[in-house]
Subunit: 294 residues, 2 copies
């Protein structure tokens, strides 16, 4: 199968799974469910779930064991976007070219839909873990929860907000990136690896890979915010500049940022070349994610 | 030990446990941690955690097995209050006589502190469950997650919001109460029972007890919103009337509401009298919760 075909196939599998687990037509809460679905199916690339299925494939792990956790990660990612977009935080009207959740459903519903997606992520993987009663599923759930919380995504988000309109140093920008986006990407790879019962060396190698991928991904985001094409991004570029945020680009310049992203990409690819043809798709996926224009 | 002494002893045990698990002095996220602590230690009665320890005692279950889950429930309860108080939802400036979280830390931080408490609740019980690798802890975690989500607290909250400024029927008010407050109270009792390895009959009996307790508690809340003393409540009464919310009192009147609360209280007490002197404290606790003026 060609790369693009396989990518679309995985996206379809994830969308179909997500569609099957979010309830429909429940008396009293239909508006809430609509709002959750609206953001969950607003055109996300499913990068994290695809990464998870891809890691699982290297170790011949069944997709049915990865999918519940991939869905949870996507729900957590989506809730964080809904809350980030709120007037009190980034105050964004558009995301991926569509109105943000609170612009369609109102602020109260957007806050609660975010809460509901976060909670449903845990509800879903706990339900699954209870059925199978196998420690690796608890270990994977814990990996995800740690990465989503104060020592991960939420911690990074807080620093991002405090960083607005205030110049900060490269260490702070690194902390922010490592936690706000990097932690959940790393947890995606690690949780899949744990579910696939990899050995300690593999877990270290894949963690290293994921950290480099996550950081490169975020540096590229910073670069695209300066040089990106609005139509491809689905949002206005220049938002970091507008909110006076320190970024890699503002601190070390465009040229150094590009070199850094290239070096990290190269390192990430070298790490997974260890798995030879088994990691062919992960190799292509990494190149694809790090050569994007959106 | 006298009732009040034991109650205070349990509160102290829960506060000390909560204090030990919420981190302090972490570079970059101190403001977030302060904000989480602010609401977590804003004078909550710890009703749910106390209920959980009390149920555990009936079956001689070690407190160390219950405490992590009791803390999780209290964190979930606290996050829901922070988000409820936000300007976009109830827009409350005070809770329990203190400024609400967003009035002290700002809206962005209040949203993220709520998210952080919800996530940390799961992070904490997953960490614990992973250490012990015992199905009852996963079952208890799942009970809590279900009750906190779309089929529980969040579902009830959505209906509560939609119910503002719009008359609704008694079925809708029942749905709202059952889910917004009842579900987490029931999950508190059920999760403790599951951790205590009770049999199926006990689980049914305790579920029935918890549902009656939760509903009575909420009807009394509605009554106190009409006849309560602001100083004892720590907030202004009449807030339901102000926001035009339908309640038990507005739909069936004060007299019928009182009769209903009395009947439910009586039924709840009858159910636990099955455990005789083993349930003495739970009996007193139930009377205490349902004869409150605040």
């Amino acid at each position: 199968m060609q790369f693009k075909e396989k990518l679309e196939d995985m996206q379809a599998k994830i969308n179909s799974y997500l569609n099957s687990i979010i309830p429909r037509d429940e008396a009293y809460i239909n508006n809430l469910l609509d709002s959750m679905r609206y953001s969950l199916f607003a055109g996300g690339k499913r990068m994290r779930p695809i990464l998870m299925l891809t890691v699982g494939e290297i170790f011949d792990c069944k997709a049915e064991f990865i999918l519940p956790f991939a869905a949870a990660v996507e729900m957590i990612h989506t809730y964080s976007l809904i809350h980030d977009d709120l007037p009190a935080i980034d105050n964004d009207d558009y995301r991926r070219g569509k109105l943000t959740n609170h612009k369609v459903y109102g602020e109260a519903c957007a806050i609660l839909s975010g809460d509901a997606l976060l909670n449903f992520a845990y509800e879903h993987i706990l339900d699954f873990s209870l059925k199978y009663n196998d420690t690796r599923f608890i270990a994977a759930s814990y990996e995800i929860s740690k990465a989503a919380g104060i020592y991960g995504m939420i911690g990074g988000q807080v620093v991002d907000i405090e960083n607005e309109n205030k110049p900060c140093d490269i260490k702070t920008v690194e902390y922010m990136h490592k936690n706000k986006t990097g932690a959940l990407i790393t947890a995606s790879v690690r949780s899949s690896a744990v579910i696939s019962r990899v050995n300690a060396d593999d877990l270290t190698r894949l963690t290293d890979f994921a950290q480099k991928l996550g950081l490169a991904f975020q540096i590229i985001d910073d670069i695209l915010d300066v040089v990106g094409d609005d139509a491809k991004l689905g949002k206005k570029h220049g938002s970091d500049l507008k909110s006076n945020k320190s970024t890699y680009v503002s601190l070390v310049g465009l040229k150094s940022s590009r070199e850094m992203a290239a070096r990290l990409t190269n390192d990430a690819l070298n790490l997974i070349s260890f798995y030879k043809e088994k990691a062919e798709f992960l190799y292509m996926l990494t190149e694809y994610l790090l050569n994007r224009e959106y």
